[in-house]
Amino acid sequence: SEERFKEAFDFINARFTEVFREVFGGGTAHLTLQDPKDLLECGIEITAQPPGKSAKALTLLSGGEKALTAISLLFAIFHFKPSPFCVLDEVDAPLDEANVGRFAAMVQKMKESTQFIVITHQKPTMVAADTLYGVTQEERGISRLVSVQLRDAEQLV
């Protein structure tokens, strides 16, 4: 219904701005309805402006900035209605060391309401995990699982 969509939109929009500012340490971001008169059909635009920079096309953002902006929007949606679980496959690959740490902190905040399965090569993300599984192919082409401690994981990356 129109009302439910507007309610979800407003909540997610506010959370998106909040999460973005937190992870970027400032700046601003928001969603815009392309046609507020057509709530049932219109598209949604995204504006994102890292701190100090001028807001321009999303396409001009860097690889890492785009990933963090997308993760911020995803988590804003989760704040409104958590998915029971969420698989994130190497979303931290384009992030620098500081931002991997911020990403890991974001997941830790959300994990009460959502079970996260995070595939990663990055140590700060591993450190944040409650459980760590290593996947190995001791026999070539045959995958096996190993439950690991953090220091073993560092060998496995």
Partner: protein, 165 residues
């Protein structure tokens, strides 16, 4: 509802039976390139009813069956079992364990089972719909796909919010 365990057997590179148990909170999966991490993600999407081979990086669904190595023959079947904890419709406030399994023989279609009893894809989908899980577009962010949220057309992006609304 929460995931309890995922068992793979004959699914992609998981020729031998392997089981992951999920705690509450965050599970990290690590390992070298090509060891099978994304295959685990694929197996979870698959047991939940994914119908598109392309969403699992294959050309046809039979591509998920273990294809053999220089040392081992291909297998004839892939099976994935997912154990979930769900609200018990019969006992308000209580939960029960449900096991969803999907099996694929190379030359036939998929078989689904809920707690061991054969069912159709639709039965699995209905069960998941009740849990608020359904086919949540944002339960899986695949490798290299995180940017898609930003680059989709404004009308497609709307779907993401509609699912939540």
């Amino acid at each position: 509802m929460r995931l309890i365990a995922l068992e793979l057997h004959g699914f992609k590179s998981f020729a031998d039976p392997q089981k992951l148990s999920f705690p509450a909170g965050m599970t990290a999966v690590v390992g070298p390139n090509g060891c099978g991490k994304s295959n685990i993600s694929d197996s979870l999407a698959w047991v939940l009813g994914e119908q598109r081979a392309s969403a699992l990086r294959g050309a046809e669904m039979a591509d998920v069956v273990f294809a053999g190595t220089s040392q081992r023959k291909p297998m004839g079947m892939a099976e994935v079992k997912l154990t979930l904890e769900m609200p018990d419709p019969a006992l308000p406030g209580a939960t029960r364990e449900v096991v969803i399994s999907r099996r694929l023989y190379r030359d036939s279609g998929s078989e689904y089972r809920i707690n061991g009893r054969e069912g159709r894809l639709k039965d699995v989908q209905d069960l998941l719909m009740d849990t608020g899980m359904g086919t949540r577009a944002y339960s899986f962010i695949q490798q290299g796909q995180i940017d898609l949220i930003l680059s989709t057309k404004p009308k497609d992006r709307r779907q993401l919010l509609e699912e939540a609304a």
